[in-house]
């Protein structure tokens, strides 16, 4: 197992490359999900405001 992680002494390079790849991809996905959520929240708020405005008149 530790052999596997050592990657024949090139652990830094192999895991550095794979690590950055994993990191960026995961960040991208998380960021996308967060964005979807904020957009929905904002739209919901806008619509509630509009509905409220419509009721006032």
């Amino acid at each position: 197992m530790s052999d596997f992680f050592a990657q024949g002494g090139y652990a830094f390079f192999v895991w550095g490359a794979y690590g950055m790849t994993a990191l960026l991809l995961v960040i991208e996905v998380l960021q996308l999900r967060a964005r979807q959520r904020t957009i929905r929240a904002r739209l919901g708020r806008l619509m509630r405001i509009r509905d409220a405005g419509a009721n006032d008149q």
Partner: protein, 252 residues
Amino acid sequence: MALNWFKFASPASFYPIAGRLVPAFWIITLVLLGLGLYWGFFETADRLGGSNAQKEYYRIIFIHVPAAWMSMWLYVVMVGWAAIGLVFNTRLSFMMANAVAPTGAIFTFLALWTGAFWGRPSWGTYWDWDPRLTSELVLFFLYIGYIALHSAIDDVRRADRAAALLAIVGLIMVPVIFWSINCPDPNQCAALHQRSDLTQIDGNILFAMLAMTFGFWTYSFATSFMRLRGIILQRESENAWVRDLLDTGDKA
């Protein structure tokens, strides 16, 4: 036929379609990446010994090469959508181009990063001004230019068109730029040799590489569709169908 296309080309009808496709793409992505990684790490170990020995860092190839391929392919895709948008004035194609760009930039960066992490153990340097590396760097700048221009413009319609025009000009220039980098001295260009040849690569390695490439590809589909859905919602928020969507509490 034509009618059908127009139907799909409207954001309203594409939104739910994309919503259904995203999970499918995620599943395929996970399968392909899992397969590629397993094959790359455990089924190609025989290459480590023997006369033509590879060191362990060759394993970077399974992300380096797919990322480099995706970076170029996604640029072409992005420009394609941008051009369609400019010519036919369809909103959805601009949104597609927008949705693809960040993913493309990420893969370009990854190609550079993984290449650097490969170059250090094999060439002894993180960076060299090799034509291939330089071109990839320029590609990265082109992506960033597109994204920067788009986000610098407030009016989305202007942003769409301006960025699309830039992408097209960029695409026309890309071969010239790459060629000039590859061949800084026109007196000796004929001698430029082919660098790599897929048929010479070991079958197992090739298999893992292809699996990873397709995995990245479906990943790009998944993320750009997710991003596309966000963009659609934002831009179409005035339309009745978005309101209905939110009212019915769609979770897709």
